[in-house]
Amino acid sequence: MSGFDETLQDEAEAPVRVRFVVNGRKVACEVAPRDTLVDCLRDKLELTGTHAGCEMGACGACLVQLDGRAIHSCLIYAVQADGARIDTIEGLSEGGVLADLQAEFHRRNALQCGFCTPGMLINAQELLSRVAEPGRGEIRDALSGNYCRCTGYEAIVDAIDAVAKARSKGGVAT
């Protein structure tokens, strides 16, 4: 053998029971201590709308809401989220929270392959919850943790801008 400490592997794999409220529903599941939240959401809970793009917090594809704030689900372990309220793209879509953003993204085709889009929407929602009517520069700045390889970002900025304006007028865009 190569001196590999098998107890370390056993510990890394020993399951831990965690509980969350995911998309408004109580969930309990067993995870390995080394499982990240994005792995847990995608593999254990089969919520594949949250994507893993870089697994180091640089691309934003894995953004979810944890207790109401956007976080990178690739940067925390599932065990760290024990007891938290987690909202993913699936729950936020079904709850209608993102409906105006989604409609505006659709109308303007502010997506192509769609892999970055769930993270984009969650970040946009976060921005608009903090700043009622951000300027285009502010929108671009806020999105700078969300990588999109397909679009030129411009339609995305336009869509968020339109929703911001509509929301601050108390209505919805389109």
Partner: protein, 791 residues
């Protein structure tokens, strides 16, 4: 109220209309079905041990400890695959003298780049597979490493492929006109050497596949995040000896591709082999670090070029040498020389140029393969040409627009053949130049630039004209012996309830293929777009075709759909005519209703025709056979390629203290022929420009002297993010191709083609007050400061 009616006011007129993509709603709701999301019963996961050495002999591989790990099902090395898989060689017949060594899924005796997959482990989870990788011991014996172009070309230096006399993969030479004579008599000559760094596609979803071999049925199903499912059906069939009809490749939602996902990767072939060895589904999703070291890279050229001009500024000749380093193998099945070949053939393309000479040398090195990535060769050809044009302009004292107006091929001078053999049907450089000039408010920008310069603010304005290759015919790969289709197919049905199903071989990666196909079908048939369902990306279901690459989705796929729809419409109207006791020519379809051509009066819904044909054929006249499903194929004829053209402009500011560049605004005037969906075309152009801007300023795969990729993560490799990207202004000129009814050409590479050339010209324009030039891409702050002699 009384605006004149246009073709878009006709009912069901969708060609030319900005309608949203029907399939985008799924993606917005997080309901995409990417291969990385897929989970099958009994599915196992593969991980790969990668070589830490750029070049080494494999002396021994010890895998016992890895095999003993609980949850590990298989540990496989190159020899295991060599027993079931035939090797492949990335050469094409029409590139005479081209060489590349045979490749297997995993290497047998040598590793040739750092990061090359060496050993595969299949386990119950990816984590367990990775644990097991740590227990594998490999004894390597170092071999001399060839990293850069000069090292690779050194006579008597190390040779990468045993048995070869040198590291040259391919040499090519073009020579037309009287180049030496033109240079001898030129009033002005400009010359420069350019370098272009390696960069890579960085699709947000890495490469992913699930191979599922069922030994009881002898059937291989591969869920593959690829652009070209039919090509992979053929390759898996031939290399693993499975009859083609028993190989099914399914490409559902793809998280970005840009050419990167149509090459054969060693891991992907290995995963198919692993599934065959195990008789179980095996999944592999590259992680980001694996993507950086194993996805194809692109560019990596050094070009020396000179241009001769007469006293007025007319271009007399160009003379070019392109050296390009491609890694240790040529990729399969498209080869790694296509980029260099396109560089030397596209240089000078927008201009009246008869005297042209070019030499291409394609060189092996100990790095991952380079190959086709968005706008293959275009950015290099464009940067070289357009920089020389600007250099000449400043030498002669001409404005950037003026020298181009003087030299572009006039819009009324087509058809034209370039000195490199490309045949141009109809391009619109003059119209595009004129439009760009107005759109940029060029004179205003120049005045502002002069003003700001006095205050120590250094802005640059750059323009670059381009020609783009689209709609490739069999002349591209077919003639070289590659089984890559240049035709596409569609199967179109009127369903019993009067809706339309279109199975088509062009694939969707987010460009909007499904949207434009449904627009074309709805438009041509006369039904609402939401009554058309388009299905792509499954070799078992959709007819064989080339699929979506090299900008062929709209031009070839769209024409296929158009022709198929016309056949279906004719069939529907023939049945309608029998039912209505009418001549088919007296009938038309509008909004899903058969109508009288003369009066527009509705006669019968097409749903009723379908109902009668499918369920009450007894009521049709004897002998009537309703053909409400049509199968139709289309292969481009006429011009070998539908060339498009356009021009880009860039406004930027150089901070001469920090070397940082701020992109202020970007402009493009583009001619892709008939536009099917302006909204999709515009964001496609913007996306392409942003990829070109990334290459211009940020993106570079940087290697150490020992051949290690030093920035292989998204924290270290810079990609364009929203904050650095400018707003992009777009205008169109439409010159439809006469080779098809639809008239559409491609648009996917136009943005990338000229963006970096524009930036290069703009930075050099900003440098005008200084004794500084730059000739290397990416243009990093360090290079700027070095050029300004401040670093």
């Amino acid at each position: 109220m009384s605006a004149p009616l246009t073709s878009l006011d006709r009912p069901n007129s969708y060609i030319g209309r900005s309608v949203p993509r029907p399939n985008a709603k799924r993606l917005l709701a997080g309901r995409g079905r990417y291969v990385s999301d897929l989970k099958l019963p009994r599915m196992l996961h593969a991980a790969f041990l990668r070589s830490p050495h750029a070049h080494a002999k494999i002396v021994a591989i010890k895998t016992d400890a890895a095999r003993a790990v609980e949850g590990v099902h298989l540990v496989a090395t190159g020899a295991d695959f060599a027993r079931i898989c035939t090797p492949w060689t990335g050469t094409l017949d029409h590139f005479k003298g081209m060489t590349s060594t045979p490749q297997w899924p995993l290497p047998l005796d040598r590793v040739v780049w750092a990061g090359q997959a060496m050993v595969a482990v299949v386990a119950e989870s990816r984590a367990i597979a990775e644990d097991a990788l740590e227990l594998i011991e490999v004894d390597y014996e170092d071999l001399p490493i060839v990293v850069d172009i000069d090292g690779a070309r050194k006579p008597g230096g190390p040779v990468i492929n045993p048995g070869s006399a040198s590291n040259v993969c391919f040499r090519s030479q073009l020579d037309s006109g009287t180049v030496d004579d033109a240079f001898m008599h030129a009033a002005h000559v400009v010359e420069e050497e350019f370098t272009f760094g390696r960069h890579t596609a960085v699709t947000l979803e890495p490469r992913a596949l699930v191979a599922d071999y069922d030994p009881s049925a002898g059937m291989l199903t591969v869920h593959h995040g690829t652009q070209t499912p039919y090509q992979f059906q053929d390759l898996y069939s031939r290399h693993y000896g499975i009859p083609e009809a028993r190989v099914r490749v399914i490409a559902t939602d793809i998280g970005g591709s840009f050419g990167m996902k149509l090459h054969v990767y060693h891991e992907d072939m290995a995963v198919v082999g692993l599934s065959i060895l195990l008789g179980r589904p095996v999944k592999y999703v590259a992680d980001r670090m694996e993507s950086f070291v194993s996805d194809i890279h692109a560019r990596d050229h050094r070009v020396r070029a000179r241009m001769a001009l007469d006293a007025k500024g007319e271009i007399l000749a160009m003379d070019v040498v392109d050296l390009t380093a491609i890694g240790a193998f040529s990729t399969y099945p498209r080869t790694s020389v296509v980029e260099g070949n396109q560089v030397i053939r596209l240089i000078g393309a927008p201009y009246r140029l008869t005297n042209y000479r070019a030499a291409l040398e394609v060189i092996f090195q100990n790095k991952v393969q380079t190959s086709q990535y968005r706008a293959v060769g275009h950015p290099i050809a464009c940067a070289v040409t357009e920089r020389l044009v600007d250099m000449a302009a400043s030498k002669i004292g001409l404005d950037a627009f003026a020298i181009r107006e003087l030299n572009v091929i006039p819009d009324d001078a087509y058809p034209q053949t370039s000195p490199t053999g490309y045949r141009f049907e109809a391009l619109s450089h003059q119209a595009c130049l004129k439009r760009l000039h107005e759109m940029m408010d060029y004179d205003g920008l120049r005045a502002e630039q002069a003003d700001l310069r006095k205050r120590g603010i250094y802005r640059g304005i750059g323009i670059a004209a381009f020609v783009e290759i689209t709609n490739p015919s069999p002349a591209f790969y077919g003639v070289g012996g590659a089984r890559i289709s240049s035709q596409d197919g569609a199967i179109l049905s009127l369903t019993p309830s009067g809706e339309v199903r279109c199975l088509i071989s062009v694939t969707e990666q987010g460009q909007g293929t499904e949207a434009i196909i449904s627009q074309i079908v709805a438009d041509q048939l006369g039904v609402a777009q939401d009554h058309v369902r388009v299905i792509t990306g499954d070799t078992e279901v959709t007819p064989h075709g080339g699929a979506t690459w090299a900008c062929r989705g709209a031009g070839i796929g769209g024409e296929t759909a158009l022709q198929a729809t016309r056949v279906l419409k004719r069939n529907i109207l023939e049945i309608a005519a029998l039912i209505l006791q009418e001549q088919p020519s007296a009938l038309d379809i509008i909004d899903g209703e058969v109508v009288d051509v003369a009066t527009g009066k509705p006669r019968l819904p097409i749903a009723e025709i379908a109902r009668i044909a499918y369920f009450r054929s007894d009521t049709l006249p004897p002998g009537a056979q309703a053909q409400l499903t049509v199968s139709h194929h289309f292969a481009p004829q006429g011009y070998p390629f539908a060339f498009t053209n356009g021009i880009q402009g860039c406004l930027l500011e150089v901070d001469v203290e920090t070397g940082l560049i701020k992109l202020l605004k970007h402009f493009i005037v583009e001619d892709c022929g008939r536009i099917i969906n302006p909204m999709l075309v515009d964001e496609q152009l913007r996306g392409g420009i942003v990829q070109g801007l990334g290459a211009a300023l940020f993106e570079e795969c940087r290697y150490s002297d020992t051949g290690q990729l030093m920035n292989g993560s998204l924290a270290d490799y810079l990609v364009p993010m929203p904050m650095e990207m400018p707003d992009i202004v777009i205008a169109h000129v439409e010159t439809p191709t006469a080779d098809t009814v639809l008239g559409a050409k491609g648009v996917g590479e136009a943005g990338t083609a000229a963006a970096s050339a524009c930036v290069l010209n703009a930075v050099n324009d900003a440098f005008a007050p200084f004794d500084a030039t730059i000739n290397s891409i990416p243009i990093t702050p360090a290079k700027i400061l070095k050029a300004l002699k401040r670093f």
